[in-house]
Point group: C2
Chain length 79, copies 2
């Protein structure tokens, strides 16, 4: 079994209301050092060991990622 | 300005309906190599360069993380 971590972030041009809310909440608690917050996703996949990069790319493109608003990169454990 | 990546995962014992739905959808599309999917969060912070590890831990503990159901780890860029 192999572990794959997919890191999903909102594209730069997309407004992130959840991130803005978190930033404002942090400021109100005195954490003024925080200049920006963006909230994305971390998708952890457990896959059979013969899974290759192309398989993961296919899963991301077909289902896991909304490429209109999201960017992604992934790491396959042990590679 | 320093970038901090906070990786948030659901605790092992917590059921992840979103992850289960993703796994089932991947199976229905023929991606049978996927044995498990867990969906967590990737929080990207932009902070002033003098921010230290203890500051980030405080932000996570006070606001960003729900420690009842979530685990986290973070990386400060350049450390």
């Amino acid at each position: 079994m192999t572990k794959v971590n997919v890191y999903v972030t909102l594209r730069e041009s997309v407004v992130d209301p959840q991130g803005i809310a978190a930033k404002e909440a942090l400021h109100s608690m005195g954490h003024d050092a925080v200049k920006n917050v963006r909230i994305g996703k971390l998708i952890e996949l457990e896959v059979e060991s013969n899974t290759v990069e192309a398989d993961v790319t296919k899963m991301c493109d077909e289902l896991l990622i909304n490429k209109v608003i999201e960017d992604y990169r992934f790491e396959i454990e042990g590679e």
